[in-house]
């Protein structure tokens, strides 16, 4: 894992000191709110519905036990004893007091963390595959590149006032677990004909009010060209991107309005200009970062303890079958710890849970933890013989829910329970769906299903790429929920399609239930997933299930 250099350390401490002064000046009246707001946002501090919210970056979703323990400390010392892990591999504290925030940031700096560029029209926290460095299907660990991008983009003078925020995601695997096609820049590691690793570069993806799948701007970019090429994209966007209309300011609109070809020509021209300026220092730097991400020394101990427990304990087996993913070393496994116990808030962890996870990471996972964009915690390198002990410990803290990738493993943004931008609540909808399907005991029968819920069109809950997406809106002063079907955030990315009119708050859970019963009735077998069935049969049978045959007939007549 990357450890802060002296430069990182002093940079972050400096920012905390600056912010401490800014807060003092706000409190003594020297700064107005208009002057202070951009300063606090640069440091991840929002003002939401009920309180301030501090958004802390977890770069590329990786943290160690000490950092996780410090997040627990922040939660207890300055918040209400919990934190909320987000779809952007950040953690949010929902109840800090303004005067405490500089101390919180100092405590974060103690463990090499910060909240810089978690807001504002800058390059945000670079996200990555949460199985990075562990996945069996990986070409290379993408995190060194993500760290290089983090260092390059932090306080980059040219990119502090972009037309709009800018998000980069990177995956080292052909299986896209980082939703790279829904990012301003998506980087997917591929090999060239000679076998050398490089990137397929996608640009102009994004969700929000105008969802778009990223377009391939370069089929293959050599690794050594990454920084100058990203800089060329950003520079082109910085000049061309619209500043007259907030809703047309993201790069997806820039690419869409100018056309990919024209945009690419400008990027390539800029790239040709600046490439010679990159003398190779960045590559030396990258090599240094790579040594810090050298793979852990894995034990080749016997795994029979795992096999025995799996044989004898059906609860353990169910958890293992659902929450483990193949590690590149077959005697190890990647453990996904679900933060989606039915009835709980998706992505929330208490301080006690964070401490336990920190301990488990330190003891059983080479001191590494990950946060996934699906709002779960990953222990990436667990030896199979240790899985029974990990499971027992997780169970003692209500963290052993066996539901990863299933109906109750729902992504939900904070929605109108916290967020000032939200138009409806998301959390209680997620809680009700999860609880309902737990009661029905159908979850494992339903199989792979991704439900994603956003409380406004900004789509923090990724609803467009949910197999079932739910979007909460305000319709004439009442919460109303639109459903989309067929979204997919992986390498086969697609945007969900709207089913039709939305549903009231008390109608949305029964509507989801009808959809899932329709799927169970129509599927050819358990191996045909909800998404497969949707792709085979389309919207028709789901519309029938949602609105009844009659409603469908009327719509057909009208068309």
């Amino acid at each position: 894992m990357y450890t802060y250099s002296e430069f990182d350390e002093s940079f972050v401490r400096n920012r905390v000191a600056q912010f401490r002064g800014q807060v003092e000046r706000r409190l003594d009246g020297s700064l107005t709110e208009d002057e202070f707001k951009p300063l606090r946002l640069m440091n991840g501090l929002y003002l939401q519905l009920h309180a301030y919210m501090l958004r802390v970056a977890i770069p590329y979703g990786t943290l160690n036990g000490r950092q996780m323990r410090q997040l627990a400390y922040l939660a207890e010392r300055w918040d209400k004893g919990y934190g909320h892990f987000t779809t952007r591999q950040n953690i949010q504290f929902n109840w800090p007091k303004l005067a405490d925030v500089p101390d919180m940031l100092d405590a974060l700096a103690d463990v090499g963390m910060h909240a810089i560029q978690t807001s504002g029209n800058t390059i945000r926290n670079v996200t990555a595959d949460h199985f990075a460095g562990a996945a069996a299907d990986e070409i290379e660990d993408p995190r060194p590149v993500a760290e290089l991008l983090r260092q390059w983009s932090t306080d980059h003078p040219e990119f502090q006032f972009l037309p709009r925020k800018f998000k980069i995601a990177v995956t080292g695997s052909p299986t896209d677990r980082a939703v790279t096609k829904a990012h301003d820049i998506g980087l997917r590691m591929v090999r060239d004909a000679g076998g050398a690793p490089g990137f397929e570069v996608m640009v102009g993806g994004g969700l929000g009010r105008t969802p778009m799948i990223g377009k391939v701007i370069r089929d293959f970019l050599p690794k050594a060209d990454l920084l100058p090429y990203c800089e060329a994209i950003l520079a082109t966007y910085n000049l061309l991107g619209r500043r007259d209309n907030k809703y047309k300011a993201r790069i997806k609109i820039t690419v869409h309005e100018n056309g990919l070809e024209a945009f690419r020509d400008l990027v390539e021209a800029r790239f040709a200009e600046i490439r010679p300026e990159f003398s190779g220092v960045d590559q030396d730097w990258l090599a240094g970062i790579e040594t810090q991400f050298s793979p852990p020394r894995l034990s080749d101990a016997d795994t029979s303890e795992y096999d025995a427990r799996r044989e004898s304990d059906p609860v353990f087996r169910s958890w293992a079958d659902t929450n483990l993913a193949p590690h590149k070393d077959p005697s190890h496994a990647i453990v996904t710890v679900s933060l989606k116990k039915p009835g709980n808030t998706p992505g929330d962890a208490t301080a006690a849970q964070m401490r336990l996870l920190a301990d488990l990471g330190a003891t059983y996972s080479h001191d590494e933890l990950r946060i996934s964009h699906e709002q779960n915690v990953i222990l990436p390198h667990v030896h199979r013989a240790d899985l029974p002990a990990v499971f027992d410990a997780l169970r003692s803290a209500a963290l052993a829910t066996a539901n990863v990738g299933l109906v109750s493993d729902i992504i939900a943004c904070p929605g109108m329970d916290y967020c000032a931008l939200a138009t409806a609540r998301s959390i209680p909808v997620a809680q009700s769906i999860a609880t309902r399907f737990e009661d029905l005991k159908l979850e494992h029968d339903i199989g792979a299903l991704k439900i994603k819920i956003s409380g406004c069109i900004n789509a923090c809950g990724h609803h467009h790429v949910g197999h079932i997406g739910i979007l909460g809106l305000d319709r004439a002063g009442v919460e109303n929920y639109q459903i989309t079907l067929g979204g997919d955030g992986t390498e086969t990315a697609s945007l969900g399609e709207r089913t039709g009119p939305g549903f009231a708050y008390d109608e949305i859970v029964p509507a989801i239930e009808r959809l899932i019963h329709a799927y169970l009735d129509l599927r050819q077998g358990p191996e045909e997933t909800f998404l497969d069935l949707y792709r085979r049969l389309g919207m028709g049978p789901f519309k029938d299930a949602l609105y009844g045959d009659a409603a469908r007939g009327r719509q057909a007549d009208a068309a």
């Binding site: 709110e33 109840w95 209680p428």
Partner: protein, 101 residues
């Protein structure tokens, strides 16, 4: 004839705590929606909002929100204001916890 004015309250967030606050008729900031001054006159509402916005040393983002009279004071009209007045629905945090205490 102009449309009938929907009664308003002045609300904001407290600078230090971030908590939701309401302007009262006697110029205090209350944490309780029911203590807010219910303003029935449009011109008066504008004046009260200007008065609130001037207090930028202690309050943030003052605005007018629709409200209606209730048995124990003004009540929110829109569900967003109802959530602001109560707290989140997933935990008994915010104002609802203060009431329990």
């Amino acid at each position: 004839m102009s449309r009938r004015f929907t009664p308003k309250i002045v609300t904001a967030n407290d600078l230090l705590e971030g908590d939701v606050i309401y302007l009262t008729a006697d110029d205090r900031w209350s944490r309780d929606h029911a203590e807010a001054e219910l303003i029935e006159d449009e011109a008066h509402a504008e004046i009260r909002l200007i008065h609130a916005a001037r207090q930028s040393g202690s309050v943030v983002g003052a605005y007018l929100a629709d409200a209606r009279p209730g048995p124990s004071g003004p009540e929110p009209v829109h569900f967003r204001e109802a959530f602001r007045a109560k707290g989140p629905s997933n935990y008994t945090h915010g104002k609802q916890s203060e009431r329990h205490a």
